[in-house]
C-alpha cells in the first residue's frame, strides 16, 4: 500500500509492523539496527523506506548478534535506539541483551514471536514469554516487557516502552506475535515529537575536560563489586514494579477470571462475551506489562473467584506467574495452543465449561 504522508491524528489502516515502525520514527528514534526475519521484516523495510526521507539512521546488520551489539554501542553513545526480530533472532541476541541489561542501557527490543522451538513455523505464538520475562540470557536481570494486543497498541507501546526504558536505564521489550505484526487494523498514530529527548550524562560521547570519563561496561571482576551492581539492579526492578499495567474486563462481579495477554486476550474477550450471554460471570485480566507482572492485582482477584483460566499461545508459561500470584488461593487452570496455532474463542469457552462442570462435580 502506498505510504501515506499524513502525520496528523487521522485514523489509518496499517500493518502492526508498520504502525510500530512509524511510531518509532515519531518517537524520534535515532537509529534502528536489525536483520530480516519473518514475520517482522516489514519493520526493517519500513525504516529503510522512511528514514532517508525523515530523520535517523537505519542499518541492516549482518546478523542479529551484530544488531544487538550495535544497539549496545549506539545506546551507550546516547542514542535513542531500537531493534526488532522474531524468536530465533531474539535467541541469538541473548548474550547482548544480558550485557545491555547489566550496563543499564535504555533501548527498545521488539520480538514478533513466531512458533518454536527451533526454526519452527512463522505463525504467531507466545512461546517466548519465559525468555522475555525471566531472562533468556545469563544472570539476574529483567527487561521491561509490554504486550500489545492490537495494531493501535503496537504503535502506542513504542512510546511507552521508550519512556520506561529511558526512565529506568533499562532495556524494554515489546513482545507481540506474528498476527499482530502482519494484520492491518485501524490505528491513530501518536504525534511526532511528543516524546522529548532526555539527558544522558552517562553516555560515551567524548570526554570533555569538565567531567570524568564515562564508561559503559558490564564487567566487575571482583564479585563484591558485581554484587553491588546486582543489588542496584534488584533495587531498580523493585521500583519498576510501580509501572505495572493491566486491563480488567468484567471482573467486578466475576466468579471466574480469565487471564491472557496479547492476542490471546482478544480471544478471551470474546469468551467473556460468550460466557456472559449464557449467564456465566466470567471476567478477564489482561496483563499489559508482563514485567512488571500484575501480581498483586491477580492475588486480590484470586480471593474472589472460583478459579482462574490462563489462556496462552504456548505450552503454559505465564500460567506460572499467575499461579505464583494466586499462591494457592484458587485453582489456576491452563488452556494453550502451540507452534503457531491460535485458540478459538469457542474452544476456550468449551474448556471453561468443562472446568465448571468438573468443579461442580467435585463440589457435590
Amino acid at each position: 500500500m502506498e505510504q501515506e504522508k499524513t502525520t496528523n491524528n487521522e485514523a489509518r489502516l496499517m500493518k502492526g509492523n508498520e504502525a510500530l515502525a512509524e511510531a518509532a520514527i515519531r518517537a524520534d528514534i535515532d537509529a534502528y539496527f536489525g536483520y530480516p526475519i519473518t514475520p517482522q521484516s516489514e519493520v526493517l523495510e519500513y525504516f529503510t523506506n522512511e528514514m532517508p526521507k525523515r530523520h535517523g539512521i537505519v542499518l541492516q546488520a549482518e546478523s542479529e548478534v551484530a544488531a544487538i551489539n550495535m544497539i549496545y554501542g549506539a545506546a551507550g553513545a546516547g542514542g535513542r535506539v531500537m531493534t526488532s526480530s522474531s524468536s530465533p533472532g531474539i535467541s541469538l541476541m541473548q548474550e547482548g541483551i544480558s550485557y545491555i541489561a547489566s550496563a543499564q542501557l535504555p533501548c527498545l527490543i521488539v520480538n514478533v514471536n513466531r512458533g518454536g522451538p527451533g526454526l519452527g513455523t512463522i505463525q504467531p505464538s507466545q512461546g517466548d514469554y519465559f525468555q522475555a520475562t525471566k531472562g533468556g540470557g545469563h544472570g539476574d536481570y529483567h527487561l521491561i516487557v509490554l504486550a500489545p494486543s492490537s495494531v493501535q497498541e503496537m504503535a502506542d507501546f513504542v512510546f511507552d516502552a521508550i519512556r520506561l526504558a529511558e526512565k529506568y536505564r533499562n532495556p524494554a521489550m515489546i513482545l507481540a506475535d506474528g498476527a499482530l505484526g502482519q494484520m492491518m487494523e485501524k490505528v491513530v498514530l501518536p504525534q511526532e515529537g511528543s516524546l522529548p529527548k532526555v539527558s544522558k550524562p552517562w553516555a560515551t560521547v567524548g570526554k570533555p575536560a569538565s567531567r570524568k570519563r564515562n564508561i559503559i561496561t558490564s564487567l566487575f571482576i571482583e564479585p563484591e563489586k558485581m554484587e553491588v551492581i546486582n543489588l542496584g539492579l534488584q533495587e531498580k526492578y523493585k521500583q519498576i514494579q510501580s509501572e505495572v499495567r493491566y486491563e480488567e474486563i468484567a471482573l467486578d462481579d466475576a466468579d471466574i477470571a480469565l487471564v491472557a495477554f496479547g492476542l490471546s486476550a482478544r480471544i478471551c474477550q470474546k469468551v467473556v462475551d460468550l460466557g456472559r450471554e449464557k449467564g456465566i460471570k466470567v471476567g478477564l485480566l489482561r496483563p499489559i506489562t508482563l514485567y512488571p507482572f500484575p501480581k498483586s492485582a491477580l492475588n486480590k482477584i484470586a480471593d474472589k473467584v472460583n478459579f482462574m483460566l490462563v489462556v496462552e499461545m504456548n505450552a503454559g508459561q505465564m500460567v506460572e506467574d499467575v499461579s505464583l500470584a494466586a499462591n494457592g488461593k484458587c485453582p489456576v487452570y491452563f488452556k494453550g495452543r502451540m507452534g503457531g496455532m491460535i485458540p478459538s474463542p469457542e474452544e476456550v469457552f468449551a474448556e471453561l465449561m468443562s472446568i465448571i462442570e468438573k468443579q461442580s462435580v467435585t463440589q457435590d
Partner: protein
C-alpha cells in the same frame, strides 16, 4: 601523577601522556598491550582529540583498557567490538571511534562482525593485537596460532589437519573495498613503536576525512601464554611470527 618538569637542571623530555589514567597496567611483564594503549593515548593527546574520541575495549586481556585510557569508552561483548563501534559511530559520526581487539576476539568469534564492519567501510580505526594466543583465558590456541605452536589447547602443536591454518585476517580484510588503510606493525623495538605511532596518527587523520576503515594489526607477544620471558618472547616474535605475519603496509590510500 605530576612529574616535575625539570630535574637537577635537566629538562623533562618524556613522560606518561596525560590521557592515560593513574592506574598501573594489570598486564603481565613485557606484554605489548600496554605499549599500544600508550601510543593510542599519546596520539589522542597530541592531536588534542580527547574530547572527541570514543574507544571500544574487547573481551580479552585488554578488557580493562578503559581503566587506563582517560577517554569515554565502552566495553564490548567478546568479538563484537566492531559492531559496538559501528553503533557508536553511526550515532556520533563526527567523533573519532576506535576498536581494540585481540586475535581471538577479532578473528575467531568476531569474524563476521570484523569482516562486515570493514566491508561497510565504517569510518573507524580498528586496532588488532595479534599475539597468536588467547591471553586472558590462559593461553589457548587462537585462529592466528602458528602451525605446530604449542598452546594449552594445542598441547601437541597446532596441526593443520584437525585445527586448520593460522589465519591472515588482515590480508583478507585488505581486499575489501571498504578498507582504506591497512597496515601491520609491532612494538618489539623502538623503531617499530615509532612506526606504529605514525600509523595511528594517519588513521585518525583519515577518519576525520571519512575515508573508510583503517585497520592496524600489531603483531605482539604474550610472554605468559607463550611461557617465555619478555625478552625471549620478542625474539620468538621476530623469528616465528614475522615470517607468517610480515610487517608493513598492506593497503595504502591511492590518493
Amino acid at each position: 601523577m605530576d612529574v616535575p618538569t625539570t630535574l637537577n637542571g635537566y629538562e623533562l623530555i618524556y613522560k606518561k601522556p596525560s590521557t592515560l589514567t593513574e592506574k598501573p597496567f594489570h598486564y603481565c611483564p613485557g606484554c605489548g598491550h600496554s605499549v599500544v594503549h600508550r601510543l593510542l593515548m599519546e596520539v589522542v593527546e597530541e592531536m588534542g582529540i580527547q574530547e572527541q574520541t570514543v574507544g571500544v575495549a574487547p573481551v580479552g586481556c585488554s578488557v580493562f583498557a578503559y581503566d587506563y585510557m582517560d577517554i569515554d569508552m565502552q566495553e564490548a561483548a567478546h568479538g563484537r567490538a566492531t559492531a559496538v563501534a559501528t553503533g557508536i559511530k553511526r550515532i556520533l559520526p563526527d567523533k573519532f571511534v576506535f576498536s581494540y581487539q585481540g586475535d581471538g576476539d577479532l578473528a575467531a568469534i568476531g569474524t563476521a562482525e570484523t569482516i562486515h564492519a570493514v566491508n561497510r567501510g565504517e569510518n573507524i580505526l580498528m586496532i588488532f593485537i595479534n599475539n597468536a594466543i588467547y591471553g586472558m583465558t590462559g593461553g589457548q590456541m587462537a585462529p592466528t596460532t602458528l602451525l605446530n605452536q604449542v598452546t594449552s589447547t594445542s598441547p601437541y602443536g597446532r596441526n593443520k589437519e584437525a585445527m586448520g591454518y593460522p589465519i591472515k585476517i588482515t590480508e583478507l580484510l585488505a581486499q575489501l573495498p571498504g578498507a582504506y588503510y591497512v597496515s601491520r606493525h609491532a612494538v618489539y623495538t623502538v623503531n617499530a613503536v615509532r612506526k606504529l605511532k605514525k600509523a595511528i596518527e594517519k588513521s585518525f587523520a583519515y577518519q576525520k576525512l571519512n575515508r573508510g576503515t583503517c585497520f592496524i594489526e600489531v603483531v605482539s607477544n604474550c610472554p605468559s601464554g607463550w611461557k617465555m620471558t619478555p625478552v625471549e618472547s620478542n625474539k620468538w616474535l621476530e623469528a616465528n611470527m614475522f615470517p607468517q605475519y610480515p610487517l608493513g603496509d598492506i593497503k595504502i590510500p591511492k590518493d
